[in-house]
């Protein structure tokens, strides 16, 4: 498997970071023109096959060609520019003192001992547009006739006050002009970090204002990871029989599903394979993974499921080609899966399309096709009232044969859809999930009573909320006081009032609420400090806990490390510390 983002591949989604630092989302198709707006346009083929993370410059169009060409700004040239950027001030008031070896200035005083100003500062700077000798019109004409570099040089040459500026503000001025007149952009791959940056600017509520640091906490505490069985020799049967399953409730448009899928090796298709199958449309090149899964299916299929297909003389699973034809409603994989619970009829995981998985037209070879199962709350809690869960009418073999092929096809499609739905619902209701990840606008206290019992002992529970209040409520439901009261009821053989105890407070261990914020800094020689402004809005809170299996009846805590008084307290507070 080669690196996912080794180079820009056709039909991929990617970001162009424009000089304004805004990200522009592009789907790159071969033989098309990419229009960047202000910077101009260029053929997509000039980016295809090229590397990410480079700065590309849009060159001036030559007479003979219809579009501008691109140039990768070589690292050596960038270096030179970055080093001048080194001296880019933002808020600085003084000239840089001579930097020492590691870039810290030796002196920082603006005023000498006798009170005279020893360093150049901006005391005498005049902020006036008239200092620029070139008029806007002249600049506009320059833009037509000469390249970006020349414009900048001319603008700088015509600035009357440039010599009065401090080195820093001069550099800043140059940088501003560079950004304005050099048509450069950076190409960034589609990954979680860039996607968050992009959505956060455009429509933050769509991803519940989830920052990258919150997402990091969620994925780490969920313990989501690859749980495939390849390479396991010992205890393979036990470990592969339904391990690595996560239950997810996601109102972030699929961001959380994508992040978990990434951790579970389900998000990206093997790029080489994707290339192959794109070349041979619907060919026989089935991915290893799909085949693997399919083999599993065939082995483990319940008699009623795929076995039924085989009996009825329908296309069977002899060859990969035929296998592919059944991948429209595949029976979900048994390990390394994400089960998504959604409140509407269809799940909203639209962000997944940027990673090559569109739920409306799923790519049958994408790992998510067999490893992402979706079901509605109705299907989970009252499956018998769901249409898809109800078994479609069974038609006998000899009647089927008399049907037209189209009608027969529809019949089998219905059967396959039902089989998939039934497999998903039954699997979800069986429970034993390794973890629950919850990022929802729904009230968590209404979700937990239904989902906590589905998590296996030792499993992880992670809830994200942009604001603390919903999670504070959850913390309160699992507080040690409430748990002690609950245990007290039980040890007296009373049934605790479900109004006072919407959830069994003993079921979660070590409930913890936390929040993370990455504070950005500006790092420049002599002027290193936290950024002056940053994004406000929701902080993002993460609740974590482990599902446990409590002992029957009352439990007495014990602490034998301190004095008697402490000991008595411990005993009273009950199972306490959790």
């Amino acid at each position: 498997m080669s690196t996912v983002h080794s180079h820009i591949r056709p039909n991929a989604y990617l970001f162009l970071r424009l000089p304004s630092d805004l990200l522009k989302l592009i789907e790159i198709k071969p033989n098309t023109i990419i229009d960047t707006g202000k910077l101009g346009s260029f053929p997509s083929n000039l980016l295809l096959g090229r590397p990410y993370y480079y700065k590309y410059e849009i060159l001036d169009k030559t007479e003979s060609e219809a579009y501008s060409r691109l140039r990768i700004v070589p690292p050596s040239e960038l270096n030179a520019e970055i080093l001048t950027e080194d001296a880019t001030p933002s808020e600085s008031r003084g000239d840089p003192a001579t930097p020492t070896v590691n870039g810290v200035p030796e002196a920082y005083d603006l005023v000498g001992e006798d009170g005279t100003v020893v360093m150049k500062n901006n005391r005498l700077t005049i902020d006036d547009a008239s200092r620029q000798a070139l008029s806007q019109q002249e600049i506009e004409e320059l833009k037509k006739s000469s390249g970006g570099k020349e414009i900048i040089e001319k603008i700088l040459a015509n600035h009357a006050g440039l010599e009065e500026k401090t080195t820093f503000s001069k550099a800043k001025y140059t940088l501003r002009k560079t950004k304005k007149y050099l048509k450069r952009f950076t190409v960034l791959p589609m990954d979680m970090g860039n996607l968050i940056d992009y959505v956060m600017v455009k429509e933050a509520p769509r991803i519940m204002e989830m920052t990258e640091e919150s997402l990091g906490l969620v994925t780490a505490w969920s313990n989501a990871h690859y749980s495939g069985c390849d390479g396991i020799v010992e205890k393979a049967d036990e470990l592969c029989a339904g391990g690595g399953r996560w239950l997810v409730i996601d109102d972030t448009g699929g961001l959380v599903v994508a992040a978990l899928a990434e951790r579970m090796d389900l998000l990206f298709r093997d790029p080489e394979e994707a290339q192959d199958s794109a070349d041979q449309v619907n060919g026989t090149a089935t991915s290893n993974r799909a085949l693997e899964t399919f083999a599993l299916e065939v082995e483990s299929a319940q008699p009623g499921a795929n076995g039924g297909l085989a009996e009825n003389g329908q296309e069977t699973t002899d060859t990969p080609t035929k296998a592919t034809s059944h991948l429209d409603f595949p029976i979900p994989a048994r390990t390394d899966t994400i089960t998504l619970l959604h409140p509407a009829v269809q799940p909203n995981v639209s962000l997944l399309k940027y990673f090559g998985y569109d739920t409306n037209q799923p790519d049958p070879l994408h790992p998510l096709h067999t490893h992402l199962s979706t079901l509605s709350w109705l299907q989970l809690l009252q499956p018998e009232s769901d249409v898809t869960y109800r078994e479609p009418e069974h038609t006998a073999d000899h009647i089927l044969r008399t049907w037209k092929s189209g009608k027969r096809g529809t019949y089998w499609k219905k059967r396959r859809r039902w089989e998939r739905c039934k497999a998903i619902v039954d699997d979800a209701r069986r429970g034993e999930f390794d973890g629950l990840v919850l990022a929802s606008n729904m009230d968590p206290t209404s979700i937990l009573p239904h989902t906590i019992p589905l998590i296996r002992g030792g499993g992880h529970v992670v809830i994200f909320s942009p604001t603390p209040e919903p999670l504070v409520k959850v913390m309160d439901l699992y507080s040690k006081e409430r748990r002690a009261a609950y245990i007290n009821h039980i040890s007296k053989e009373e049934i605790p009032d479900p109004v006072d105890f919407p959830v069994d407070p003993r079921m979660l261990l070590a409930p913890t609420l936390q929040t993370s914020r990455a504070k950005e800094w500006q790092v420049l020689p002599g002027r290193t400090h936290p950024m002056m402004t940053s994004r406000g809005g929701a902080e993002g809170y993460v609740f974590t806990a482990r599902k446990v299996v409590p002992l029957e009846g009352g439990v007495m805590a014990k602490g034998n490390y301190a004095g008697k008084k402490r000991k008595a307290v411990e005993a009273v507070e009950g199972g306490a510390e959790g």
């Binding site: 498997m1 080669s2 592009i26 346009s41 080093l83 994925t219 495939g228 390479g231 007495m556």
Partner: protein
């Protein structure tokens, strides 16, 4: 420095990646004693510790024979057992007195009998008491000499419990004692996210320290075990870990092997600043996609992490993401200055500020008088006025009746306060205190205000004229450049 490659092979699935349906003997478990007090433990059926119950772990919440911990559902709450710790005779008299009747074994409050980290301690303990041991063994006679088959069935104690959890990088990190500064979950979760570490990635980590980041990175790159190089089509995730402190290497190596991570983590004893990252000749270079440097002077190691050097340890086919972890701003400035001069892009620096939040119910009011953990002042203006009236009333009563019932009244008043407190206490037992008061949240008492500064940077893949020519041939633009009308204008629709 030597190039000691400390890699062992281990065919077992790692307990960090695959959880058995029940707890099993010889597998790693985490005992959850209380919040932030976790104890890693390898469950044993037998031990030579001299307990009648076989292997026993003593904690401050009681003694736990491993027989009560094996073969149960993960996450189970387990009661402490009555274990005769006294007659084993390992303890010195003074520690016994300190610990009291329920004290743990071994002279420290918490001793994991089979925890690899404390095993060493235990051994030295053994050496110390070696001279007195033979005699005591003789005295104890049969019970000590018996094979574990005769282990006594554990008897439940009246109080004390723990929970048995399957291990995760988070619990492992939380259970670490501070061998070095530990990279905690708020930092490493963000770092791994920003470094784009995915299953199948290769990450370089230097120095490994206590192994907290190592475990998290191993989970992030894991995409199957690679016992051999038979399946070459799949690139298996690897952590190349370097550490120059030899005892730490030895400890970590043992831990990784007992955690079934030897196939995923390649640990090398090395000072990377002076010797670089190249492996022994028979190993191909790491081809790292991500680099994490937790070193005093990361810029010294960075010179070994350039493209175009002989046996460069970087993946030549993709971008390389870097994070350095430095507590001081001067280190950051030197690092950034080096990165700027050496073709790294996307340079940024930040620090992760993580707070844990305490949620509790705060009860305020006169009716709370005398109860624990409350504020017994008036909760409302009305309550305050009522109380003031009451006092006023009593005062005037007192003045008017002073002559008659001076002594009696005073007695009555004192009584009434005691009575009131008693009454409040009685009432409190029937009140649902867990649902009363204001639900409030605040930061936990101790906040880690600074861990380290994180410098991030990216090194794009090398791109030469030949690469450009190749891409140009594959994706020609001749047609497009010739006729403007032939192609649809893309873009703009999303941006």
């Amino acid at each position: 420095m030597s190039n000691d490659v400390l890699e062992t092979t281990n065919g077992q699935p790692s307990p960090f990646f695959h959880t058995t349906s029940l707890t099993e003997a010889d597998s790693l478990a985490i005992l959850h004693l209380k919040r932030d007090s976790l104890l890693p433990l390898t469950l044993r059926t037998a031990a030579d510790e001299g307990y009648a119950e076989g292997a026993v772990t003593n904690t401050r919440f009681g003694s736990f024979p491993h027989s009560t911990l094996i073969g149960i559902e993960w996450g189970s709450q387990v009661r402490a057992s009555k274990v005769d710790t006294g007659s084993r005779g390992r303890k010195k008299k003074e520690t016994k007195e300190q610990l009291g009747p329920e004290g743990g074994g071994g002279g420290v409050p918490v001793v994991a009998v089979d925890d690899p980290r404390t095993r060493k301690k235990r051994k030295s303990d053994d050496d110390l008491t070696a001279s007195e041991l033979p005699a005591k063994k003789l005295k104890q006679g049969a019970s000590n000499g018996q094979p574990p088959v005769a282990a006594r069935v554990a008897v439940e104690a009246g109080s004390g419990f723990i929970h048995v959890l399957p291990p995760t990088p988070e619990t492992w990190t939380a259970s670490l004692d501070h061998r070095t500064q530990v990279v905690y979950t708020p930092d490493y979760s963000y770092i791994l996210q920003r470094l784009r570490v995915r299953p199948g990635s290769t990450i370089i980590e230097a120095g490994a320290g206590s192994g907290s980041f190592t475990h998290a990175a191993a989970r992030a790159v894991f995409n199957g075990y690679s016992p051999s190089l038979t399946n070459k089509s799949k690139r298996h995730g690897k952590v190349y870990s370097y550490e120059y402190h030899e005892p730490r290497v030895a400890t970590l190596c043992q831990e990784l092997s007992s955690h079934g991570l030897s196939n995923i983590v390649h640990l090398t004893h090395r000072d990377v600043c002076s010797s670089g990252f190249a492996l022994s000749p028979e190993h191909p270079p790491p081809q790292a996609d991500a680099i994490f440097l937790d070193l005093p002077a990361p810029w010294l190691a960075l010179k070994h992490l350039a493209r175009f050097t002989a046996d460069a340890p970087l993946n030549p086919h993709g971008p390389v993401h870097l994070c350095t972890f430095s507590p001081c701003i001067e280190q950051v400035m030197s690092t950034v200055s080096y990165l700027r001069r050496n073709a790294w892009t996307e340079i940024s620096m930040c620090e992760v500020q993580n707070r844990r939040i305490d949620v509790r119910r705060e009860r305020v009011g006169l009716k709370e008088e005398g109860l624990r953990g409350v504020n017994a002042s008036a909760a409302t203006v009305e309550e305050a006025i009522d109380r003031l009236r009451e006092v006023e009333c009593k005062l005037s009563d007192y003045h008017s009746n002073r002559a008659a019932v001076e002594v009696k009244g005073e007695q009555k008043k004192i009584q009434s306060k005691a009575e009131r407190l008693e009454k409040i206490k009685l009432e409190a037992e029937t009140r649902k205190l867990y649902m009363e008061g204001n639900l409030v949240q605040r930061s936990e008492p101790e906040v880690r205000t600074h861990t380290s500064y994180l410098v991030f940077a990216t090194l794009p893949r090398a791109w030469g004229e030949e690469d450009e020519r190749g891409a140009g041939e594959m994706w020609g633009v001749g047609e497009v450049m010739g006729g403007r009308d032939k192609v649809a204008v893309e873009g703009g629709k999303k941006g």
